[in-house]
């Protein structure tokens, strides 16, 4: 069990007790300091670690892999909420909501070595070519200063790093030369039911790329079907960023856990000089380095920049444009489901095997890009059902048999357009366990996304009805929610007045400071972001390396 937190009984918050003998003092003569050990930070650290002295600081604990099954128990038992599985919550993770739309931030992230990939679903797709040119092609939002072609080789590398099981059967996906590193998972039984209905309607289904082993890969197990991928995969079949954290450490990187960075300091030459971080014993340290990569996720990254305000940068570090924290975006969920009068075989595994990108590129100024998913875990899981209710014995078994077996559902994600009034700021009067203002979320969603949710619902209901389902629920504009993808808050732009980082993800204002995160996405597309985060992180690492070599 880790010294940082217990997975025993009771809710664990973000515990901060000291006690174990861990050296959390700064590393002398570091070349690169990476803030955050999620996938972005871990990939940057791993890529640079062989040749450079790298130190990674993460706000949360290092979780003991031996506790994963105990965390799985938490995922199943009704007493524990999702944030309890990875010890999120408490004063460390306090936040405020000020917008029209409530944002459940602590359901949407994990703080600790591995970041939110400990909790994630693991669907990994490339953005479409038009996603990089949304302003020109669709009339919404700025274009990215880079194109699909710029990221294409990095996407292929990212797929190898994460270990993606996929197939080239998706006619709507952007062009690729090489196959995925692993074969796609076979379609599920319920996919075959959907396939008949979709064929009738002329709707295409294809495989979903999964960062999940369909065969042994990277010394990690293939999927064994625990079915609790989100929020925990006990087998290690689902990729999480501890893979790259460990690899970076093997190459010599230093990883310091429970070391929240509170402030970045700079000198008069617009260079970041140190990351000031706290440790559980109440000490504060300064980690100096030649280059800094901020990879603290889409909410904490702008918060850290805002917390680092100085006389020279009174509105926050790297915030000459005034855009730090603005344009906060997430993908919106659209779904529908019901029951069939036959068995649908749900909840055997916790991931999807089929999707539909057919409508994605119809997008224009009125309709956002969206994609559709065919659920493999519709309806209740019997084991979870058994733990709630006031029956047992034969009546419970009867209730489980009635409740399980014939559910069917579809989901989908819709792009949200960037807007300045959807943003992360610092709360005025609430601080975290270290006395620092907490992030305040103002999440605002425009009509284009809401109208597109309705369009996605129409198709979903049409498919379900063709299937003969009794449609029992529709998650439309009034019942939508976020997919937990935090994007846009330090956007990328060639123009220093329009964005926080340049096309290399280097901050416009500070020469030796990069941001690796979906916070740099100018627009979000509707594809899950992490493969793009990974591709950008590898590209950031190359740029850092090149500039360190040049001495710039």
């Amino acid at each position: 069990m880790s010294g940082a937190e217990s997975v025993g009984d009771g809710r664990s918050g973000a515990e901060g007790g000291a006690g174990e003998e861990v050296d959390r003092t700064p590393v002398p003569d570091a070349d690169v300091c990476v803030v955050g050990a999620g996938p972005a930070g871990a990939l940057v650290a791993d890529r640079l670690a062989g040749d450079r002295d790298v130190v990674v600081l993460d706000a949360g604990p290092r979780f003991d892999p031996a506790d994963r099954l105990a965390r799985q128990e938490r995922a199943i038992r009704p007493f524990y909420g999702r944030p309890d599985v990875w010890g999120v919550g408490g004063a460390r993770d306090a936040h405020e909501n000020a917008g029209d739309w409530f944002y459940p931030l602590n359901h949407a992230r994990v703080k600790g070595v591995g970041g939110s990939t400990l909790h994630w679903q693991g669907m990994v797709m490339r953005l479409h070519e038009d996603d990089f040119n949304s302003g020109t092609e669709r009339g919404v939002g700025p274009d990215w200063p880079i194109d699909y072609a710029d990221l294409r080789p990095y996407y292929a590398e990212a797929e190898k790093e994460l270990g993606v099981a996929g197939a080239s059967d998706n006619p709507y996906a952007p062009p690729r030369e090489e196959p995925h590193p692993m074969p796609a998972f076979e379609p599920s039984y319920s996919d075959s039911l959907f396939a008949e209905a979709c064929e009738e309607l002329g709707i295409d289904m294809h495989s979903v790329p999964n960062a999940r082993n369909s065969e042994p890969y990277d010394d990690r197990s293939p999927c064994v079907g625990y079915g609790t991928c989100q929020p925990v995969c006990p087998s290690g079949a689902k990729y999480d960023a501890t893979v790259h954290v460990e690899r970076a450490e093997e190459k010599g990187a230093t990883v310091v856990d429970r070391a929240p960075v509170e402030r970045l300091e700079h000198d008069g030459d617009d260079r970041v000089t140190a990351a000031v971080y706290a440790t559980p014993d109440g000490e504060r340290h300064r980690q100096e380095a030649d280059a800094f990569v901020v990879a603290a996720g889409g909410v904490e990254t702008p918060r850290l920049l805002l917390l680092s305000a100085s006389d020279r940068y009174p509105d926050g570090l790297a915030n000459g444009s005034g855009h730090v924290g603005e344009f906060f975006m997430d993908h919106l969920f659209a779904g529908a489901g019901g029951t069939l009068d036959e068995e649908t075989r749900q909840n055997h595994v916790g991931f999807y095997t089929s999707a539909c990108d057919q409508f994605y590129d119809e997008a224009d100024a009125e309709q956002a890009p969206f994609k559709l998913e065919f659920f493999n875990y519709a309806g209740p899981s019997p084991v979870e059902m058994a733990l709630t209710g006031d029956d047992w014995g034969d009546p419970l078994l009867e209730r489980l048999r009635d409740g399980y077996g014939n559910h069917i559902a579809m989901g989908g994600l819709v792009e949200q357009a960037p807007r300045a009034d959807s943003r992360i700021t610092l709360a005025d009067d609430r601080t975290d366990d270290r006395g620092n203002p907490v992030p305040q979320m103002e999440w605002t969603v425009g009509d284009r996304a809401l109208d597109t949710i309705e369009r996605a619902n129409e198709i979903q209901v049409e498919i379900l009805e063709e299937l003969g389902a009794d449609v029992e629920w529709v998650a439309g504009p009034d019942a939508t929610g976020p997919a937990y993808h935090h994007m846009g808050t330090t956007r990328m732009s060639d123009d220093p007045d329009s964005g926080v980082v340049d096309a290399d993800c280097r901050t416009h204002d500070l020469d030796n400071c990069w941001i690796a995160s979906s916070s740099v996405f100018p627009t979000s597309g509707a594809m899950n972001p992490t493969l793009t985060i990974a591709a950008l992180a590898l590209r950031v690492a190359d740029d850092v390396d090149a500039r360190l070599s040049e001495g710039t």
């Binding site: 217990s6 025993g8 009984d9 009771g10 506790d67 994963r68 099954l69 105990a70 965390r71 799985q72 128990e73 199943i76 038992r77 009704p78 007493f79 998972f185 076979e186 379609p187 599920s188 039984y189 075959s192 369909s214 293939p222 999927c223 064994v224 079907g225 625990y226 079915g227 609790t228 006990p234 087998s235 036959e342 068995e343 075989r345 909840n347 055997h348 595994v349 916790g350 095997t353 493999n376 899981s381 019997p382 084991v383 979870e384 058994a386 733990l387 709630t388 006031d390 029956d391 047992w392 014995g393 034969d394 419970l396 078994l397 489980l400 048999r401 399980y404 077996g405």
Partner: protein, 188 residues
């Protein structure tokens, strides 16, 4: 449908217990105080914390009302599951304390240990304790703790095992590492 050793192993795996340590402890106890081995006088007298044997008897008795009629092999299943669960952890202490609550209620309301009550009485006892309507909470009221450490503990063990899943129609229930094939297969 018979619960097997494989079911107990699967239920333990679903919650991350391995039982190695506890098995050693168990053997020492076996030599001394298992009912039926001629030394029943070592049995727990209802005072203080119940020993492992008393926990096993009470939990098995509870499982016989919590599990559906059509399952057999309950005693061995619960016994084996507890081999892994009574591992000296805080959770094991929670199980022990919750069993003490159940036993104390059985003795004061029915004048007998829970294992000696009829099935109907055991059912009534758990309901009178409030464990049917309570939501599980390891640090909550007595009813919530009994729900967590006795009722849901045993229901989780059963329904995350392959046989428990099959009873409901899913041979690879959540928590059981039943492979990545069953999701591809049609109804059986």
């Amino acid at each position: 449908m018979e619960l097997t050793r494989r079911d107990a192993a699967a239920a333990l795996a679903a919650i991350g217990a391995t039982g190695g340590v506890a098995l050693g402890v168990r053997r020492a106890t076996d030599d001394r105080g298992r009912p039926g081995d001629g030394e029943a006088d070592a049995a727990w007298d209802g005072e203080g914390a119940p020993d492992d044997e008393a926990v096993r008897e009470a939990m098995t008795a509870a499982a016989r009302v919590l599990y559906p009629e059509e399952v057999s092999g309950i005693d061995a299943f619960v016994d084996r599951f507890l081999d892994g669960r009574l591992d000296g952890s805080a959770h094991a202490e929670g199980v022990r304390a919750a069993v003490a609550e159940v036993e104390s209620a059985a003795r004061s309301w029915y004048d007998a240990p829970v294992a000696e009550l009829s099935a109907a009485e055991r059912d009534d006892l758990l309901r009178e304790l409030g464990a049917d309507t309570a939501e599980e909470d390891p640090g909550g009221t007595a009813a919530e703790r009994v729900r967590f450490f006795v009722v849901n503990e045993l229901l989780l063990a059963l329904y995350s095992s392959p046989t428990g899943g099959e009873l409901v129609g899913i041979e690879n229930p959540q928590g059981y590492a039943g492979g990545a094939e069953s999701y591809q297969e049609g109804p059986r």
